[in-house]
């Protein structure tokens, strides 16, 4: 799921601002005589880096000085049990979106799980406030339209940081916009002149998302040297894994190649000798 923080309003304002700011700054590609740097540039896939960094810094301030205090208030006032009920409730309201995307991705089995969860949680789970389906052996999953596009073979495009919304790319931003207009729950509320409910839905969704991601982001900020590039890498890997999982649900997606293990006694010899304690 993309880092969606302010919902509807943010998208409208954000999309306009993104286009404007995007035109302002582009990264300079490395010269042709440095193949390593060129490969790195292609792999990072962030030609708009200077602009993205500026937007990222702006978002970070908004998170720290606006969203985090709101979330801290929420955490102080509502005990964990209550927060779980709120989170389960808004998650259940996303079932129509999950179901639609499961079907568009051709995942009949996942669609069945989503439908089963929705029926169980909306009834025995008291309108969705209790996730009773998970203990009954139907754990939840999320699926979104950016992921669906990815499953269909649409490429991610360059990395983008959208104002207030956060890490994205043209594919995921498109998916986000489609879901924003196409969310059956919001369409229903708007049709019945319940705009206040639709806005509340958006606000609560934003709060729950913030609450979900806060600890993760704090951990990345704490452990990384360059918070921006750690988040970029994390977002891109996560989305790639979600798309692989959409194509082949339930299986462990084969992870990207990472630490290459040289044969025994091979290149590791170059590593300065280190005595490693094998106690414990």
């Amino acid at each position: 799921m993309p880092l969606t923080l302010l919902g509807k309003f943010a998208l409208r304002a954000g999309a306009a601002a993104a286009v404007a700011v995007t035109l302002a700054g582009c990264a300079t590609p490395p010269p042709d005589d440095d193949p390593d740097a060129k490969a790195e540039y292609a792999q990072i896939n962030d030609p708009l880096e200077p602009t993205n960094r500026a937007v990222f810094a702006f978002n970070d301030r908004v998170y720290r000085y606006v969203f985090n205090p709101i979330d801290s208030g929420y955490r102080a006032v509502v005990p964990p049990f209550g927060r779980d009920r709120v989170s389960d409730f808004v998650d259940n309201l996303k079932s129509p979106l999950y179901l639609g995307n499961d079907l568009l991705q051709g995942n009949v089995k996942f669609a069945g799980v989503t439908l089963g969860r929705f029926l169980l949680n909306s009834t025995f789970g008291v309108l969705g406030i209790m996730d009773v389906a998970t203990p009954m052996g139907l754990p939840g999953h999320s699926s979104d339209f950016g992921q669906t596009l990815g499953v269909w073979g649409v490429g991610e495009g360059p990395y983008l940081v959208l104002p207030l919304i956060g890490p994205s790319n043209p594919r995921d931003a498109t998916g986000y916009a489609v879901e924003w207009f196409g969310d059956p729950v919001d369409i229903y509320l708007d049709d019945h002149d319940l705009q206040w409910a639709s806005w509340t839905h958006t606000g609560v969704n934003a709060l729950v998302t913030e609450d979900d991601y806060r600890d993760l982001l704090d951990d990345v900020r704490r452990t990384s040297l360059d918070y921006y590039s750690a988040v970029r890498s994390l977002y891109r890997q996560r989305r790639a894994a979600e798309i692989k999982n959409g194509k082949n649900p339930g299986a462990y997606a084969p992870p990207p190649k990472s630490v290459a293990n040289p044969p025994h006694g091979g290149q590791t010899a170059q590593v300065p000798a280190k005595t490693v304690s094998t106690e414990e």
């Binding site: 452990t223 040297l225 750690a230 994390l234």
Partner: protein
């Protein structure tokens, strides 16, 4: 007669000693690698849950466990990527030392939030001659299980070392490589500058606990 039996026994015993370590060193397999992951997770959980340890003792034990079971030189080399080739032996040594500190602080802190999660191993595969990919999931009190994959390398002595953790499809090693590459790029590839910003980071992490 007696003498012959004795010789036989001594010979047998000697042979036994020679053979035993070889037998204990089971052929690497998905099963063995999975057992390694389970026992590593259990050791970590037992240690975190051990109320008799004070903070310093726990940190010290955590470091030992981590250093013994993670192939820090291999991970560090991967993270530094192309800059490893141009680093001097002194820079490499210093980098690995700081990298180890940084890793230990990162994981020790993550384990402080431990609240009853359990790890279950669910098979895996052999990636190549000495590499293994073990699938597992972390079950929590609340929320769906988190899939975690472990990339391991088997050692000539029959033990295993972790070379990467892939949490919900996100490789820790790749994320770090991306982070470090970006910092080095901003420093025009000056490794000494990277080392000094690693030192600053480590101090910050220590101060924050």
């Amino acid at each position: 007669m007696y003498r012959r039996t004795l010789i036989k026994a001594v010979f047998g015993l000697a042979l036994g000693f020679a053979v035993l370590p070889a037998m204990a060193r089971a052929e690497p397999s998905v099963d063995q690698a999975g057992k390694f992951v389970t026992s590593l997770a259990n050791s970590a959980i037992t240690m975190v849950a051990d109320k008799s340890l004070n903070e310093n003792e726990r940190d010290e034990r955590f470091r030992k466990l981590f250093v013994a079971n993670f192939d820090i030189p291999a991970i560090g080399k991967f993270v530094l990527a192309r800059y490893w080739r141009v680093a001097t032996p002194e820079q490499r040594g210093e980098f690995l030392k700081l990298f180890e500190d940084q890793q230990v602080l990162t994981w020790a802190h993550r384990f402080k939030d431990y609240s009853g999660e359990q790890l279950q191993v669910a098979g895996g595969e052999r990636e190549n001659a000495h590499e293994w990919l073990i699938n597992s999931q972390i079950t929590r009190i609340k929320g769906p299980p988190i899939p975690v994959q472990w990339r391991l390398r088997d050692e000539p002595d029959g033990s295993y070392r972790v070379t990467d953790l892939i949490v919900e499809g996100v490789s820790m090693a790749i994320t770090q490589r991306s982070d470090y590459a970006s910092v080095l790029q901003g420093m025009s590839g000056h490794i000494d500058q990277l080392l000094s910003s690693m030192r600053t980071k480590i101090d910050q992490m220590k101060a924050a606990g």
